[in-house]
């Protein structure tokens, strides 16, 4: 198992990049600790697959270093970095049986036959494909093929990391659930560093302990699913994580807080003091639909909003309200009922009302 470190890494597909836009991956430092289950999450084109290929050695970074357990591996090819990769479309050797597919990497490493047999049998049982070992690999279903291509990594005891490049793309929706669960069980059982690339937040958060959210070639936040949900470090993370995403409103400074339309939001002392120091005009406030409360009674902390639309999604409802010229989405449970145009009083719990300056979250010193 290896600890994977990226030092001052950057990558551009153009010979001599000039501005930040020429970079597929902008300058960053990052560490994937040994044995962790990580996800690389972001929209298509944010550079996540490029990052994965840099770790696996299929792409040489134009700048910076890739370190495995502290050793520089830039010059090493994938075969010497001891990694395994599961691709978007199942890559299996059609002319071989499942057993031969799984034994292939071991045979190439000159592992004694007895050891190969035992190892392949063990991995096949873990992947629940032991009954298909002697079938031709090309007759398997898509999810079984992905299991085989993953098995080729697991059989090797010396594998330093397993990389997944959106492995569930071709899998039927109702099977995705089972394969995701299988990946999680395998991670707990083998304790191998795993990096999983996807654009689907549900897949990322159910698989990974820590998620790196990538946006425009940068890792804008690296945290647990809960941190990403409760304290999105960048407005993009707030928008991207959660369905629907965080309500984000542009505000102006005013005495005692911030203002949008006719609505004034009081802020904590440290937030006001901070706003004094930072001069930037790009100030935004964000709160998740899950954290806005509808209070039955009017008080000085509630804000009157008008109900625009109610989306009934079975287990919960999404209420779209109009407040100070801005749309606010509020998540309510099944029983919520209101007529369109009705007036409801919203309550913004202080700890969930987040302040963003220049798109980044401002937090108190201590935490």
């Amino acid at each position: 198992m290896a600890e994977i470190q990226l030092k001052a890494l950057a990558h551009s597909y153009i010979a001599n990049p000039v501005g930040p836009d020429d970079y597929a991956i902008r300058q960053l430092d990052h560490i994937w600790h040994k044995g962790g289950a990580y996800a690389l999450l972001g929209p298509s084109g944010c550079g996540k697959s490029t990052m994965l290929n840099i770790i696996s050695g299929l792409v040489q970074p134009s700048e910076g270093e890739v370190l495995f357990d502290g050793k520089r591996v830039n010059e090493l090819s994938p075969r010497d970095r001891n990694i395994a990769q599961v691709f978007q479309f199942p890559v299996i050797y059609d002319s071989m049986t499942v057993y031969e597919n799984l034994a292939f990497p071991l045979k190439n490493n000159k592992v004694p036959a007895a050891k190969i047999k035992a190892r392949v049998q063990e991995i096949a049982e873990v992947l629940e494909i032991e009954d298909k070992l002697h079938k031709k690999a090309k007759n398997l279903t898509a999810d079984e093929k992905q299991k085989v291509s993953m098995g080729r990594g697991l059989v090797r005891e010396d594998v330093s990391a397993i990389l997944f490049d959106e492995p569930l793309t071709v899998i039927d929706p109702q099977l995705k659930w089972k394969l995701r669960r299988k990946l999680k069980q395998i991670h707990e059982q083998f304790d191998i560093t795993m990096v999983y690339v996807t654009h689907d937040q549900l897949e990322a958060s159910t698989f990974a302990d820590k998620i790196a959210v990538m946006y425009d070639g940068q890792i804008v936040q690296f945290g647990s699913p809960t941190e990403l949900f409760e304290a999105p470090n960048h407005t993009f993370v707030g928008y991207f994580i959660g369905s629907p995403g965080m309500n984000i409103v542009e505000v102006e400074r005013c005495s005692g807080g911030v203002r949008f339309g006719s609505i004034v939001l009081p802020l904590e002392a440290w937030q006001l003091e901070l706003l004094e120091r930072i001069k930037s005009r790009n100030v935004k406030v964000g709160i998740r639909p899950e954290f806005i409360e509808i209070s039955p009674v009017v008080s000085d902390e509630t804000y009157a909003a008008e109900v625009l639309d109610i989306e009934d999604l079975g287990t919960y409802k999404i209420v779209t309200t109009q407040l100070g010229g801005q749309e606010m989405k509020v998540r309510q449970n099944e029983e919520f009922d209101a007529t369109i145009g009705a007036r409801i009083d919203l309550l913004f719990p202080k700890q969930w009302l987040l302040l963003y300056v220049d798109e980044f979250l401002v937090q108190e010193k201590q935490p």
Binding site: S44, D172, Q174, P225, L228, R288
Partner: protein
């Protein structure tokens, strides 16, 4: 101005793609075909469009039988899964092509193309070629071409499946908006239950070419006619537990015994299937007549705002969907509570006999 399918079937080389479908869609309605892969969604849509001929049954458009009519003469449009645009034409020409073929005046074409393009936020891309654009923009071009000609029937064949998770969310919201006032009939095929819920309108559940249930989305969701409909329309699948009702008690899987509550008394004794949605099971009793069960945690999947907890005991296993983060080690014992008022009950032939009372505000 409705579309009717009259005992429509299509069998090719012995395989029944569509079996005896009877459906009617009204003008101005948004209809979702929900079913697993190979459930017959695409085959049914192709029959509606006239791309395929049915082996039996009729397709009626505004009451008129159009079964034999060729696609060219029908006023329909279709959006495919793989962003189908004419690669050799610019985005502008792509959107304009149906209007040009309808020999519309040049100025009229220009106005309508620009209007539709801005509606789908691709006006700046009108001069570009489709293959230069991102997946989302290509699909928007295809949608613009479908909407510009004001077809009476617009068919979507899982159009968002190749797009990013977040982009799918946005396009779904836009689709809802676009079709709110239109008078045409929209038919949208998908494999995802939450897409059917998000898009609203009516939902038709399909399984192996057969219509399982059809109706307004909330009626189908809240009152699935049988266990299959209940399974098809929930993600993760609804928990199903076998149970026997006697005059005094209900026993689940010959294992846990519970007194009959006011809700369940109405049931005549016998074998039943009890369905409970993962989101309705809680770790804490919510009302006094909750059914309490002691289980073990098999696996807990945290997804930021929610936790999917798989719990099991020697007899059956269940999935729970809890708000917030709940960290449990595998094998940890846990007590779960099933609110009786949230139970679905299906008889031994899997037909629905009882729906949760309080949820849908009053009796079925």
């Amino acid at each position: 101005m409705s579309l009717t399918l009259e005992n429509l079937s299509r069998t090719v080389d012995g395989i029944d793609y569509v079996r005896d479908a009877n459906l009617t869609f009204e003008a101005g309605s948004f209809n979702v075909l929900l079913g697993r892969t190979l459930a017959g969604k695409t085959s049914m849509m192709r029959l509606m469009a006239g791309l395929d001929k049915p082996t039996e049954g009729r397709v009626l458009h505004r009451g008129e039988d159009v079964t034999g009519q060729s696609v060219q003469r029908r006023n329909i449009s279709m959006i495919y899964q793989q962003f189908i645009n004419y690669p050799t034409l610019t985005v502008y020409e792509n959107i304009a092509s149906p209007l040009r073929l309808a020999k519309m005046a040049k100025s009229e074409i220009d106005r309508r193309v620009k209007e539709t393009a801005s509606m789908l936020q691709i006006e700046p891309l009108l001069k570009r070629y489709p293959l230069e654009l991102s997946g989302g923009q290509q699909q928007r071009t295809a949608m613009a071409r479908a909407l510009v000609k004001d077809a009476t029937l617009v068919l979507f064949d899982e159009p968002l499946v190749n797009l990013d998770y977040k982009l799918r969310e946005e396009l779904r919201a836009e689709l809802r908006e676009l079709f709110r006032e239109r008078q045409c009939i929209a038919v949208y095929a998908t494999t995802e239950a939450n897409e059917a819920l998000a898009l609203g309108g009516t939902t038709t559940l399909l399984h192996e070419g057969r219509v399982v249930q059809t109706g307004p989305v909330m009626d189908v969701y809240r009152a699935p006619t049988n266990t299959l409909a209940a399974q098809l329309f929930s993600e993760p699948p609804m928990n199903m537990i076998r149970g026997r009702v006697t005059s005094t008690e209900v026993t689940f899987d010959e294992y846990s015994h519970h007194a009959l509550t006011q809700e369940l008394e109405k049931l005549t004794p016998g074998d039943y299937w009890f369905g409970i949605r993962p989101s309705h099971i809680s770790l804490v009793p919510t009302n006094d007549d909750d059914l309490e069960m002691s289980m073990e945690v098999a696996l807990s999947e945290i997804s930021g705002s929610e936790t999917f907890m798989h719990v099991e005991n020697s007899h059956f296993e269940m999935v729970m969907q809890l708000m917030g983060v709940h960290q449990y080690h595998t094998g940890a014992p846990v007590k779960v509570y099933l609110p009786v008022n949230k139970l679905f009950v299906f008889d031994s032939s899997e037909q629905l006999v009882h729906t949760p009372s309080r949820v849908s505000g009053g009796a079925l």
